[in-house]
Subunit: 211 residues, 2 copies
């Protein structure tokens, strides 16, 4: 199954499909049509079929999708065979919350290290790891080759760390800062979580309906 | 300035424009062309002009944009005149982190209440408010008419609370759960922050480049 030319919107829809199909599996449902799945998700049957066709289909004409097969294929796509090693940069309030999130969820990751510049945080336990001095980041990456970094530091710190990460084997950046990792280094695969932007655009939409 | 037919992608780009323009203002820069702004943002000049045209333009032919005017217009659009009252539902680890985030940022919100079902959490201070029993939610909404709710509870709890919110004056939902508020009630204005989906799709993309 080739997944080289899948568009980003399709990729971003996959986790949602996976969650809904996992629920169907838990409920003991054996097969589902693209129309039924579309109705659950608030989308169209043709969207569902198009999306799944990017991965070779999964379905059979006239039968629909076998839930167990669909679940296994989506799981293989999303969680792969092996957990990805992820490091956390920034052990403040947000970073600590995200470290629990990464460690507890079955999201296909393994938290292997955490870093902070604040001496008061260095040495603290954070789930399975201990916070290290951020000055140890380059050496850690060289020795351990983590594939993903979660960025929970302010913009200036993110900008300073970007070249260090670019020189390492880190490919994926889960970015809570406003620093633009994709613009700094197009080789990074970036997922931005801009909480402030999300709240501000929600505010705009709510005010708009009231004006 | 009419903002009734602005598409969602344009609205979602506004906070980023606002942040960049705020930086320009801080740096004392007086005017900027759409090309310069586009280069900073990694987009095209025509995209910038199209986006701003949705709000009546802001710019002058041959001069570009006056940074101060642009900043003031974007601020008015995004933060409005008055802070929106927001309530937090779920005072666990994620909810507590988000309460600090909402209260500390200049995002146009005022945290007016927090709710949880866990007796151990009820009565705890959370920034400017004290956690109340979630059974008091309906009465609170009736008396105080908050406009926005931040949902930091598991899916089942979110599903149970959705009808309570639908009967209140809550219009905006900042949703960290997987419950689909938009599907449950199309009158809600919803911003989903699906942290798990974000990490999973990042994992897919990182694994893809390695396969």
């Amino acid at each position: 199954m080739s997944a080289n030319k899948i568009s980003l919107p399709v990729i971003k829809r996959l986790p949602r499909y996976y969650r809904y199909v996992a629920d169907l599996k838990d409920e003991g449902i054996k097969t589902i049509s693209s129309s039924e799945l579309a109705a659950m998700l608030g989308t169209t049957a043709s969207q569902v079929r198009q999306d799944f066709n990017c991965f070779g289909g999964f379905g059979q004409q006239g039968i629909g999708y076998t839930v167990e097969v669909l679940h296994a294929e989506l799981e293989k796509l999303l969680l792969g065979g092996q957990a990805l090693d992820i490091i956390l940069i920034g052990a403040g309030r947000l970073g600590r919350t995200m470290s629990y999130f990464i460690s507890q969820g079955s999201l296909g990751y393994r938290l292997v290290a955490a870093f902070d510049a604040d001496p008061a945080k260095i040495g603290q336990k954070l789930g399975p790891v201990e916070v290290q001095d951020v000055s140890a980041l380059a050496a850690f990456c060289k020795a351990n080759n983590p594939k993903v970094a979660a960025i929970c530091v302010p913009d200036e710190a993110a900008a300073e760390l970007s070249p260090v990460l670019a020189e390492s084997k880190v490919e994926g950046v889960w970015n809570f800062s406003h620093f633009d990792f994709g613009l700094a280094n197009p080789a990074f695969t970036v997922e931005n979580v801009h909480l402030g932007d999300s709240l501000m655009s929600l505010g705009f939409r709510v005010r708009k309906t009231n004006s």
